[in-house]
Point group: C2
Chain length 541, copies 2
């Protein structure tokens, strides 16, 4: 650009889909990250911070929206004088960079390598309300362990984290599934081979829509297809009835296990075994995500439920090796959780299908079960705040050698939103003491007052705007949420005193008293300048 | 890309110029950021976090290396289905995004607005040893105050921050200059108008090379030009002798003020006023950056020095309005620092030329004055770790309205490197207790031990690798820096005890004892399983 060229004014706006975070939003997030890091650390995980930028080839292509431009990432090509260089991109998660690090430093890192990482990730997605293109993740992963104990540890830690940041036990559930079980079911249904990849894709997407379409909608998508309310037709997987019912047996696990338990309970009632029957009813109830009771009451019933789910899955995959292996892995994770007394917050749930393409076995998802009020004032269940799983092939991409790995990613911004939605994040206001300027010539003296307050550890500011209009100074103090303003005019200076104006008390009095009472009780008093720090400290306590 | 296409393995490497940070490197940086944020907060600054991505037009072009491709930033164009979109880029500093925010939210933010921000920034520069393309900055700025009290506050805060992170008073100096003074000098030298922009550019670059080329080298660049050792010729600014000497009077301020004080001292000595003369000598010495003494001894001498520099500058800009204004601003900042008892760490230094293009008045730079050992084992002075200044026109770019602003940026990674270089960052090792697996069948029991340790707040891990080779488990514990390993075989389990192996003590004993003594004093003992947590806690203290 020519140097003197007159340019139009730039637009003062963050790019579409990006936002700014102010004051308490930033510090609340920081304190949540600290809390999570503390638990990760307690579990023996070490910090790792990779750069935001990776080569596109190292990141790989595992995002669900593969048909979008740039396949969901922000990418650019290095353009150097000596010719075009690598394609670079902003990381879209913390897992792909970890796989790169595990491969790059495989001779230096301990094995297994437990690491945690926190920071922003970027997705080149269409922004929407409450959906941003930069958001925080806080991950923990174990690389180099094939043991289901590693998955169980991650799940237990996830539950500890949720409770540490303020989600009560019973207000969340961690749902666990295993990709191998579904693969097994699809093999049993005869769509296992590489020639059926397209059908499997349709089946996966259909399952993911169970919540929205219900069993009949999913069934239609497994068969010929489905016409929605607008008249649009979505082509189905073209499965025959037998195949469809096999898959639906899996999709409808919740419903079928519930039915089975109800049937068993009714048989027990008929045989007058009411207590055992009631336990089965409690187990049914414990699997409902509407539950918001204390965990201790539910652990034993959830165990009944989870064991029943395992039996149901075993029937579905009978005779299929991969499916059988998947169910055993689920059972093993669950046993590990039971051994640690950590099973009460877990549900084995075949409807969990994580979107990312790299998962190979167990997948998990933490869901908040309480209702929050959304932007339009409507109550809704909050939903997923964390997810993860096992990705045994991700390091192999680089080295050719199998390196099993598993981990979880916590959506910190969503978790913060959940806590705000419940007002669980109330924090005392924390504005600074504002020292005003009555007499510009004496700025040095006012600054010394500020210095004394700061030296005493009291957050304090000198008013740095134009001091001419004193009203503006008090308005500024107000906007800053200042608890106290300090005022010293010529007269006070001569007498060696300051005026201390208690803005918080003033606001309370103004709200509760009549105008006359308020005038008689001004929340303002005089004190010797020497006592200022002590007087203010007392007021702030 | 076709789905089944066989791809070559991706390279397991961070992109050129980017690096990974492991364990203590991450936590040390985090704790430094916390320390800095605490002080910024005490001074009344509020947190702000903008996204890493801005529009190119909002960022503007203020980086020094304007002739590099992309002008020093990582940028790309939004490519959406509906046509090409905005050019986006990673922020190259925290100041340009702040200016955008100050403009965008000008009606909501308090004014003046004190904000701090911390996080990575990105520069598309040629990477070199120790020079990375992503690094951390921790900034504090005041937007909306024209008062030099704001600049003084930033400088005082910078000095507090350096001391809080562990730099001793006397081991750093904050150098302050003012762009207006140099502009004034250039006007006086007759190269003030817009038609002399090229000459002014050469002059600025020449001044920046004073350290390397010395006065004669700079003088050559101000005149016809300079041929370096390799024979390459750099064209000069073409100034005549009178002009050159005017500029050199400014460039050589340090030398000239030193000479003046020496002359005065010698006059005083001739008049037998030895004490006053000694003060002048101390003042000369106090301006040398080799000084590494206690600040309290030097404040008064530095004040003599700084006042002498102000007199010298006043002479240089005599009759020039902008220059005179610049010197007054310097004096005002200095007076504010004196009023707060914060002047001892400051030197007014006309050789400070900050590279960024947006500064309009005061500029400052914090320099560490101690020597560190570089990568090749050679001692060198550490140099600059922070810098900033006043940029009154940056918000105006967006709004057309003048919004004065000033701030500082701390190079957190450089500061960390400085502390490492001095071994000021020694921290106790912090590896987890490792519970080993002697008997795979009993993994659940081992896990319960880990759980008990974690519940007691003790960092602990279960060994999650293949447990077959027990030696590998102890090697793993070693690599993790584990202080203690817990071992329980069948025999111990039957007796309800565990073996506690004190690895730290073991290593110490192994280093200090003969092999026989060591065998007799194994740092391993048995204790009842019930006492395990308590025994380990004792050992860890």
């Amino acid at each position: 650009m020519a140097k003197q060229k007159k340019q139009p004014r730039p637009k003062a706006a963050a790019p579409r889909g990006f936002r700014d975070y102010f004051g308490p939003e930033v510090t609340r997030r920081r304190s949540m990250l600290e809390t999570i890091a503390k638990i990760y650390h307690l579990y023996g995980f070490d910090a790792l911070e990779t750069s935001a930028v990776e080569t596109v080839e190292a990141l790989g292509k595992f995002l669900p929206d593969v048909d979008r431009p740039n396949e969901g990432v922000f990418a650019w090509q290095e353009g150097e004088a000596e010719g075009k260089g690598d394609w670079l991109a902003l990381r879209y998660d913390m897992t792909a960079p970890l796989a790169r690090v595990a491969a790059q430093y495989r001779n230096e890192l301990p094995s297994p390598y437990r690491r945690y990482a926190m920071g922003p990730v970027w997705r080149n997605e269409k922004p929407g309300p409450g959906r941003f293109r930069q958001f925080y993740q806080c991950d923990a992963d174990t690389v180099g362990s094939a043991s289901m104990a590693a998955d169980a540890e991650i799940c237990a830690m996830l539950s500890d984290v949720l409770e540490a940041v303020g989600i009560a036990r019973g207000d969340y559930v961690v749902r666990v599934n295993n990709r191998k079980v579904l693969n097994g079911v699809m093999e049993v249904a005869g769509i296992g081979g590489p020639e059926h990849e397209a059908e499997r894709g349709i089946v996966l997407r259909a399952i993911d829509k169970l919540d929205r379409l219900g069993e009949d909608g999913v069934r239609a998508l497994l068969g010929e297809g489905r016409r929605d309310e607008s008249g649009d037709f979505t082509k189905g997987a073209g499965l025959d009835n037998l195949q469809t019912e096999k898959i639906m047996g899996f999709v409808g696990t919740q419903f079928r296990v519930d039915n089975n338990l109800a049937q068993q309970a009714s048989d027990l009632e008929a045989a007058n075994q009411n207590e055992t029957a009631n336990n089965l009813h409690s187990a049914r109830y414990s699997a409902s995500s509407k539950m918001a009771h204390h965990w201790a009451d539910y652990a034993e019933y959830r165990q009944i439920w989870n064991r029943a789910v395992i039996r149901h899955l075993d029937e579905l995959v009978e005779g299929n090796d991969e499916g059988w292996k998947g169910v055993r892995e689920l059972e093993e994770i669950f046993d590990h959780l039971v051994a640690q007394g950590k099973d009460g917050s877990f549900l084995i749930d075949p409807s969990v299908v994580r979107g990312l393409g790299y998962y190979t076995g167990p997948v998990y998802e933490a869901e908040l079960t309480f209702e929050v009020t959304d932007e339009d004032g409507r109550p809704r269940q909050f939903g997923s705040v964390a997810g993860g799983g096992r990705y045994d092939d991700l390091v192999k991409r680089f080295t050719g050698q199998e390196v099993p790995a598993t981990g979880v990613s916590i959506g910190v911004d969503r978790l913060l939103a959940a806590l705000s939605g419940r007002n669980l994040d109330a924090r005392p206001a924390d504005g600074p003491v504002v020292v005003t300027i009555m007499d510009r010539q004496r700025t040095g003296e006012y600054q010394t007052m500020v210095r004394r307050l700061r030296d005493a550890g009291i957050r304090a500011e000198l008013y740095l705007g134009n001091p001419r209009n004193f009203g503006n100074q008090l308005k500024y103090a107000d906007r800053r949420g200042a608890p106290i303003a300090v005022i010293q005019g010529e007269d006070e200076a001569a007498r060696g005193v300051v005026q201390i104006k208690d803005l918080k008390l003033g606001a309370e009095l103004a709200a509760s008293l009549s105008h006359e009472e308020w005038r008689d009780q001004p929340a303002q008093f005089e004190c010797p300048e020497a006592d200022m720090v002590e007087e203010i400290r007392k007021r702030l306590q």
